[in-house]
Symmetry: C2
Subunit: 347 residues, 2 copies
Amino acid sequence: MKTAAYGVQNATSPVAPMSIDRREPGPNDVLIDIEYCGICHSDIHQARNEWGGGSLYPMVPGHEIVGRVRQVGPQVSKFKPGQLVGVGCMVDSCRHCEACDEGEEQYCDHTVFTYNAKDPKHGGLTFGGYAERITVDEHFVVSVPENLDTKAVAPLLCAGITLYSPLKHWQVQPGQKVGIIGLGGLGHMGVKLAAAMGAHVVMITTSASKAADATKLGAHEVLISTQAEDLAKHASSFDLIIDTVPVAHDLNPYIGLLKRDKTIVLVGPLDPVDVHGANLITQRRHVAGSLIGGIAETQEMLDFCGKHNIVSDVEMIDANYINDAYERMLKSDVKYRFVIDINSMKA
Amino acid sequence: MKTAAYGVQNATSPVAPMSIDRREPGPNDVLIDIEYCGICHSDIHQARNEWGGGSLYPMVPGHEIVGRVRQVGPQVSKFKPGQLVGVGCMVDSCRHCEACDEGEEQYCDHTVFTYNAKDPKHGGLTFGGYAERITVDEHFVVSVPENLDTKAVAPLLCAGITLYSPLKHWQVQPGQKVGIIGLGGLGHMGVKLAAAMGAHVVMITTSASKAADATKLGAHEVLISTQAEDLAKHASSFDLIIDTVPVAHDLNPYIGLLKRDKTIVLVGPLDPVDVHGANLITQRRHVAGSLIGGIAETQEMLDFCGKHNIVSDVEMIDANYINDAYERMLKSDVKYRFVIDINSMKA
């Protein structure tokens, strides 16, 4: 079916209206009327082909999708028309490798991303959530708690799960000291989620100006990482640190904050980071990376957010504002996530 | 008591004979007649003050010590005169912190190193194993199996435990694929120990010329890390990799060799290493560091080596050859560890 969407024709064109073809729901598919779609920083990188030349055009970005089921295929068992659902970064995987078997589809070698990917099963490219509708295999659709503010749920599907997954994988317990480096789209979710898990949450930032906001979001302390006395005060005291900073930086001041045998998890840095071996060796510390979460874990995260009434802090925009939103995101001028009201596309 | 030793007076002097004062054994002390002492690369760095200016002179290096008990204090329960014993990198720690309580004295904040350290309990500096005798609290003395080639045991006390500890901490199981990067004093122990644990051992080296030696030591395969096809063939296949290379290098080709959730452990690199976040994030991989082992684990390692008849490959030297040995070590011209015959000091 023809579906209205917003996307780019090539790496230099602005985000603009276009029409795409969605498949009619097959036996296991769910057809969703999209209501809201969050804007992730990776949307900009992919739209502008900033990740090593791999972008596929035309492209409809968007992998923080919330909407209502319009229609389901005959074999769909988990969803019914009218139900509030979400779709995150993946729409398929091989389904039979070790990662898939363990519910870690995000680490499957054949993950099909929600947009900017070839769809080996159905042919063509995948198109994301800057669109009126999307058709997705039910395995990759999650149920959204009705008690939450729907429009602010969208960023949970990427930013939320990217922080929830490492907090769970590294088994954060009540009373443990957890640091979140960087207060942006990812970081603000980390503060909310870690606090709801009962951790003692420390916002680690270079900007003293962010202290008040961090505290409002639930941080118990703020560590200004450019101040030597702050670093010294917190040395060797953290059970887990999650680093959401997206650009290359020196990891060594942060590594020294970890207790023996504890881990700093990179969820933002795709660029090189400097690591001094001695900082790891002297206390058997770890640097690890983590990528979104599996589908079952994404559902668990949404249920957790429903129970604790956690959503993202969002700024709502119409579809025709996406290009402006991109420019503002590049200046970190958003608290903390732009969400597109997809109704604005239908006018 | 006055004890003959070899040491340095300052950062630029050669290793030369000197006399040092050892304490008479106190209630918990063991007085050891040293028979053999291995030469560790760190001896050179410390003798020459290459680690940030912290060296303390005069200095008697040496922390790979094997000898026989000459005398014990009245409260010593674990050792008797005549017994074959070893001393490694530590001679004391606080004894009551979390690390000490867990038998991980190497991670205590108050570890007293075997040489080049202040001794807060007894005053003065600690002096190492390039000497006829040493007095050590029994807690930091280990028993050496009599069935092993004694002179080749010495390097187990540092090089051996440095590799054994991470192999045990990361729970290497029979059949698992373990990579050892670098074939030197540390690396050759890694190959022997991992093979004895039943792992499938891969020597990872830049030098094709080392393949035959690695195989002789017990490696099942050799991966030449400068060859792209070798890296591709082994991608995402390792359960554990231990990196013994002591100089700054790019870690990224090695990180890609790890399976999901697996770890590359730095035991050699004290300098910065480059880490690309994306290589960690895409498969939730880890980079960690590890430092020698605790005393109980060092005893366990020696017992394991006794059972499996594992010792270091050594080149024996007289004490007056130490300066030449240092120069050859800087050219990697030793297979794989120099050991000083302390008898040569007594002549």
